[in-house]
């Protein structure tokens, strides 16, 4: 089975994020970029499928600027992906999700695949566009948000479960197809030291920006980020003085009504 997994370098949730001086984008100075969240679950899922169907191979594909994109591809290789493709993003270009989907779909169509796994959304912009848009570009079905995904070797089909309002929807489908994964229902693995060393020596295939443009036409973002702010700082807590629980509840209701105005 040929498996593709799309990943994206995102700011480490543990770094202190702040807007740039103009307030139009994230200040990327000093930000650490990591493979995490839904993407990490997607890699894990691709590896689990690979292990369940001997002879399978996993290719990780990422679109983004050097060197952070190469680094997360090496992380994916260290976890057990077999090959990796870096889709070049020229410096200065600020892509939007549709542009990213176009660039990635160009790289995906270069390799025939049975299944393309992608996180439901990236942890930074949480747009959730890339998976469905890549499926659309490639003309294949897409399923999401998926919470269980298995290979049935006897039937030669995938069994998957989608989280829907109030329950699970079970689907049997055959590839090629795109699956958008819910986060962390598998437990992503840690890399073995030997694999980390091997990943360093693996050559990462490159798809140049010129090639992308030749393939999908001149790529210009259709949307532009106009302002970027941190949420307002939380204001101090208010302690309620009370003698009995009843009194505390009464006071709380009064405050919610009169001060916070969250109750009618």
């Amino acid at each position: 089975m040929e498996l593709l997994v799309l990943i994206k370098p995102v700011p480490d949730p543990d770094t202190r994020l702040r807007p740039n001086a103009a307030g139009t984008a994230l200040d990327t100075d000093g930000v650490k970029w990591v493979l995490t969240g839904y993407d990490e679950s997607a890699v894990e899922q691709a590896l689990l499928l690979k292990e369940s169907a001997p002879g399978s191979r996993v290719r990780a594909i990422a679109f983004g600027p050097a060197p952070r994109t190469e680094e997360i591809l090496r992380s994916a290789l260290a976890l057990g992906c077999d090959t990796a493709t870096w889709v070049e993003q020229p410096s200065g270009l600020v892509p939007d999700p549709m542009l990213s989907a176009n660039a990635l779909s160009w790289a995906c169509q270069k390799t025939p695949f049975d299944l393309l796994v992608v996180g439901k959304q990236a942890l930074d912009d949480e747009a959730g566009v890339v998976g469905p848009a890549v499926a659309e570009r490639l003309g294949v079905a897409d399923y999401g948000p998926v919470v269980d995904l298995r290979w049935d070797p006897a039937a030669g089909k995938f069994n998957l479960a989608r989280a829907v309002e109030g329950g699970l929807e079970r689907i049997t489908a055959s590839g090629p197809m795109v699956v958008c994964l819910q986060q962390a229902w598998n437990d992503p693995r840690t890399a073995k030291l030997q694999n980390v060393l091997k990943a360093r020596r693996t050559t990462i295939d490159k798809v140049s920006w010129a090639e992308v443009q030749a393939g999908v036409g001149p790529a210009v973002p259709g949307t532009r980020l106009t302002s970027f702010r941190l949420p307002p700082p939380r204001t101090g807590a208010k302690m309620i003085a009370f003698k009995t629980p009843e009194e505390a509840a009464q006071q709380l209701v009064r405050l919610l009504r009169e001060e916070a105005k969250t109750l009618p």
Partner: protein
Amino acid sequence: MPLPRDASEALRTEVAGTVTEDPDALTRFASDASHMVQLPVAAVAPRDREALQRLVAWARRWKIPLVARGGGSSLDGESVPPPGGVVVDFAGWNAIVEISDADRLVRVGPGVVNRDLHRILASHGLFFPPNPGSWTMSTIGGNAATNAAGPRSFRYGSTRNWVRGLEAVLGTGELLRVGHRTRKASTGPDLLGFLVGSEGTLGMFTEVCLALAPVPERRVGLVLPVPDDLSFRRTLPRLLASPAPAFSAVEYLDRATAAALNRFASGRLPEDSALLLTELESTAADEETDLERVARRFSETGFTGEPVVYADADQLWTLRGQSGEALEQEGVRIHEDVAVPWSRLDELFEGTRALAKRHDVLVRLFGHLGDGNLHPAFVVDPMSDRARIVRRDLVLLAKRLGGTLSAEHGVGLLKAPYLALEHGEVGVSVLEAIKRRCDPDGILNPGKLYPASPLVPGGAAS
């Protein structure tokens, strides 16, 4: 028992800041992480230095004990209020006063949380190395007052090594400023050193000046399964035989602790084995060579387990910091802290297991192995007599092996009776003289650190 009416009125008129006397609101100040509970009579968040000095004057006049409190995460009752005591809440004193890139220093209010400081300094390419397991909740003031340490202290040492200056209000109300902005000073005994680790018994810190280290270009965590019966006396010197690879942390989890952590935090640690957790510092250019060196060093040391890599070392340390909590889920109530020289580590492991067996309590063993520092965790009612005897026997064992009765958590209430075992009678009397000068009325955190009466084995504590 509430504050006397007159004392309460005087407090509110004399001390600028927030005063809490409502018992329900005070419950959050009543304990630390040690399971001991004592409701304070009030909590005060003084507005500034002057208010703090007035608070001390008030406490002296009314003979009311004060306990400084940061994150309240101490493990031996350090920040548990003394009976009838008032909590001085420093959590709001969390200003970053100065970051000097040129001098690699930071001056902070004592209430700054360790990990917050870490995040703030990251954009300067600098960091404060001690990262206790409690780094998400403990404060710089608390770290300095307990001389706290963390996994990276194997390379960088305890908080003591990084405190350059302190400003403190003493139990006399005097303001003391000690330390230097310089890297060295040869000007007599180390006044700063008396205050670091003093557990709020000599003065309350109002500002801390810390030296900082440059952030290494690369840091990875490496976790290695090891046999249960590993001899540390033989393996540690081999593992750490040369400066390269540069291990900056060497931690140990026994099999049961590792399993508890995996259950508690879905830790992705290798299953069914005792583990060594290490950190490697490197540069982008050298990382590959260094990782190869690590792989070689592990096998030269005789380890056959397959190492796994945490690309984000801090993720590993945050996980490791939850060991205590994970073990609490499984009944552990005593988190101990002793250290011995490397050559005696095997005896410490054996001795601790033997004493647990003797007293019929379960024990889990983990700790900062590279520092010879073990945290035996016992499943026993913390208020029971058995708990006291287990602790006493562990202290005696560590001392017999040439070690210390507390490597990093502190003395607090629980180990105060054994202070003379650590410093000797003469040492304790010198410490007491310092206490009398700094806190003549004994209002600062009484009952902690200093034994009420010097005790030796066979004394009242035994």
